[in-house]
C-alpha cells in the first residue's frame, strides 16, 4: 500500500511520544534538581525496492521516529532556602547516593539527618562522602564550597561530588536519581557546593510550550495526511476506479 501512509503513521506515533516527554517536563517544572528531557527525532530509511539508495526510495520511505531522549545538563536556577541542609551544586557535578540498587547520582541536595545521625536524601538513602556514608556531628552545620561538612570546627566528612565525561548516558530512575554506566564517574573538578540553596528544575516553560504546540500541530498535519490517504485516495481506488471500466 502507499508508503506515505506508514510514514505519516510513524510520524504521528513519534509526535504522541514527544508529547509524553513534554508533559513530563512541564509536570516536573517545580521538581528540585530535575533535568529536562529533550526529544531526539531521527529518520529511518526503509530498505524497500530494488534500488535502496535511489532518490525516489529516499523520498517515500524516509520515516521520522523518536529515537531517544537526552538529558538537558544546563544549570538550573539556584533558589535560596536558608536551610542548612539544603545544598545546590554550581557546575556539572552530582551528589552520590547509596541505594539498594547500587550508587545513584542526584542534583537534588535537599538533605536531612536520619535518626542514626547519617546524612540522607529526602527519600532516605545515605549520601556518600569520600569515606562512605557521612555521620553528622551535633551543632549547627556548615558546608564549604568543596563539600566539607563541619560542626563547630569539627569535620564530619566531605561530600563526594562526581561528574561524567561528555556523552555519558545517564538513565533517569525517578526521585531525581540518575544511574550511570559502571566506572564512568570522575571526581568533579568544576563544581562548588552552595549551602542554604536548592537548584530548581531546569525545565524552560517557554521552550516546552513551543515544543508542545509544534508537536500538536505536526500531529494534526500527520492526521490530515492520514485522512487524505484514507478518505480520498483509497476511496478513489476502491470505489471510483471500478466504475471507469
Amino acid at each position: 500500500m502507499d508508503s506515505g501512509y506508514y510514514a505519516a503513521c510513524t510520524a504521528l506515533v513519534s509526535r504522541t511520544q514527544a508529547l509524553d516527554t513534554i508533559a513530563n517536563n512541564l509536570a516536573n517544572a517545580s521538581t528540585v534538581g530535575y533535568r529536562a528531557q529533550q526529544n531526539e527525532f531521527s529518520s529511518v530509511l526503509a530498505q524497500a525496492g530494488s534500488a535502496p539508495d535511489s532518490d525516489l526510495n529516499n523520498a517515500i520511505n524516509n520515516y521520522g521516529i523518536l529515537s531517544g531522549t537526552t538529558l538537558d545538563q544546563t544549570q538550573g536556577a539556584l533558589q535560596k532556602t536558608g536551610n542548612d541542609l539544603d545544598l545546590a551544586i554550581q557546575g556539572s557535578g552530582f551528589f552520590v547516593v547509596q541505594t539498594a540498587n547500587g550508587p545513584m547520582y542526584t542534583r537534588n541536595g535537599s538533605f536531612q539527618v536520619s535518626g542514626k545521625g547519617q546524612l540522607i536524601t529526602a527519600t532516605g538513602d545515605p549520601v556518600m562522602g569520600d569515606m562512605g556514608a557521612i555521620s553528622m556531628l551535633p551543632g549547627s552545620v556548615s558546608i564549604s564550597a568543596d563539600g566539607t561538612i563541619s560542626s563547630n570546627g569539627a569535620v564530619a566528612g566531605k561530600l563526594k561530588l562526581v561528574q561524567f565525561p561528555a556523552g555519558t548516558q545517564l538513565t533517569s530512575v525517578g526521585d531525581t536519581y540518575y544511574s550511570a554506566p559502571p566506572k564512568s564517574e570522575l571526581a568533579a573538578t568544576d563544581s562548588t557546593v552552595k549551602q542554604g540553596m536548592l537548584e530548581s528544575s531546569n525545565v524552560n516553560p517557554v521552550a516546552s510550550m513551543v515544543e508542545l504546540i509544534t508537536a500538536q500541530r505536526s500531529a494534526e498535519m500527520m492526521q490530515r495526511a492520514l485522512s487524505l490517504y484514507n478518505s480520498e485516495m483509497d476511496k478513489t481506488a476502491t470505489q471510483e476506479l471500478p466504475k471507469v471500466g
Binding site: L12, Q17, A27, A29, S67, V113, T171, T176, A219
Partner: protein, 263 residues
C-alpha cells in the same frame, strides 16, 4: 499511548498541593513563631523504551536511550528555618529566640512539644505557660507579688520582690535544637514534635557555643513567611497548573483528530 494525559494530571495535582501550602503560609503570615513550609516534588518512574547505552549493533551502542517519564509527585514539605523578624512588644513575658533553638513545653498528653512562639503568660499557680496553657519546661514559677521580671539573653529568669533591692533568680529557660529541624512534625498551635527524621532534641542553655541562640525579652518572633516569595511562588504554581492543563488539552485534541482520521 498518551501517558501525557496522566502525566499532566500528576503535574496539576502537584501544583494544587503547592497552592494549598502557599495558602497556609500566607494565612499564617501574622502567626508569631510560625515557620513557613515549602513543598518538594520528585519525578516519578520512567518507562525505558530504549535503555541508554543499549547495544545498537554488536559494535555500537545507541546514542541516547528513549525514556519517557510518568510525571511528578509531591515528596515532602520542608520547614524553612530562617530567622523571623523580631518585633518589640514591651510585654516582659514575651520571649523571642534569636538563633535555631526551640522552647520546650509540656503538652496535655505529657509529651514534650517544641515551639518558637514565645508569647508566655502565668497561670493561676504563677507558672509560665503558653497561650494554650502548656507549661514551659523546665517549669518556672513567678511569685505573685513579683514587681519586676527580667530574662537574660542566657535564659536566666529573675524577679524583684517588694521590699528587696536584689533580684532573685527563679529559673533558667532551656532551649532545644535538632540535627534536622526541617524534619520536625508540625501538629498545629505552633507546636512541633520530634521524628526520626529530625533526630533527638539536644537541650542546652541559651547563649552558649552550641548555636541554640539567645533569648530576647519583650520581643516576639514574627512568622518567617516572605510575602513576596509566596506571591511569586503562587504565580509560578498557577502558571505551571495552566501549562499542565494545556498539555491535557493538546493530548485531547490529538486524540480527537485521530478519531476523525477513521471517519
Amino acid at each position: 499511548m498518551f501517558h501525557a494525559l496522566y502525566t499532566a494530571a500528576s503535574g496539576m495535582t502537584a501544583q494544587q498541593i503547592n497552592l494549598d501550602n502557599i495558602a497556609n503560609n500566607l494565612a499564617n503570615a501574622s502567626t508569631s513563631g510560625f515557620q513557613s513550609r515549602r513543598v518538594q516534588f520528585s519525578d516519578l518512574l520512567y518507562q525505558s523504551e530504549v535503555m541508554p547505552g543499549a547495544a545498537a549493533t554488536q559494535q555500537t551502542t545507541v546514542a541516547a536511550g528513549l525514556q519517557v517519564g510518568l510525571g511528578t509527585r509531591p515528596g515532602n514539605t520542608e520547614i524553612i528555618q530562617t530567622q523571623g523578624d523580631l518585633s518589640s512588644t514591651g510585654n516582659p513575658l514575651d520571649f523571642a529566640i534569636e538563633g535555631t533553638g526551640f522552647f520546650q513545653v509540656l503538652l496535655p498528653n505529657n509529651q514534650i512539644g517544641y515551639t518558637r512562639a514565645g508569647s508566655f503568660q502565668t497561670n493561676q499557680q504563677g507558672t509560665l505557660v503558653t497561650a494554650n496553657g502548656n507549661e514551659l519546661q523546665p517549669s518556672i514559677n513567678i511569685p505573685a507579688n513579683a514587681t519586676n521580671i527580667t530574662v537574660g539573653s542566657d535564659g536566666t529568669v529573675s524577679v524583684t520582690l517588694p521590699g528587696q533591692t536584689n533580684a532573685a533568680q527563679v529559673g533558667v529557660i532551656q532551649l532545644a535544637t535538632f540535627a534536622n529541624p526541617g524534619g520536625l512534625n508540625s501538629v498545629g498551635n505552633n507546636i512541633y514534635l520530634p521524628t526520626t527524621a529530625s533526630g533527638d532534641p539536644v537541650v542546652g542553655t541559651p547563649g552558649g557555643a552550641d548555636g541554640l541562640g539567645t533569648i530576647q525579652q519583650g520581643m516576639l518572633e514574627q512568622a518567617n513567611v516572605n510575602i513576596v516569595d509566596e506571591f511569586v511562588n503562587m504565580i509560578l504554581a498557577q502558571r505551571s497548573y495552566e501549562s499542565n492543563s494545556r498539555v491535557v488539552k493538546a493530548a485531547d485534541e490529538m486524540l480527537q483528530g485521530l478519531n476523525q482520521v477513521a471517519q
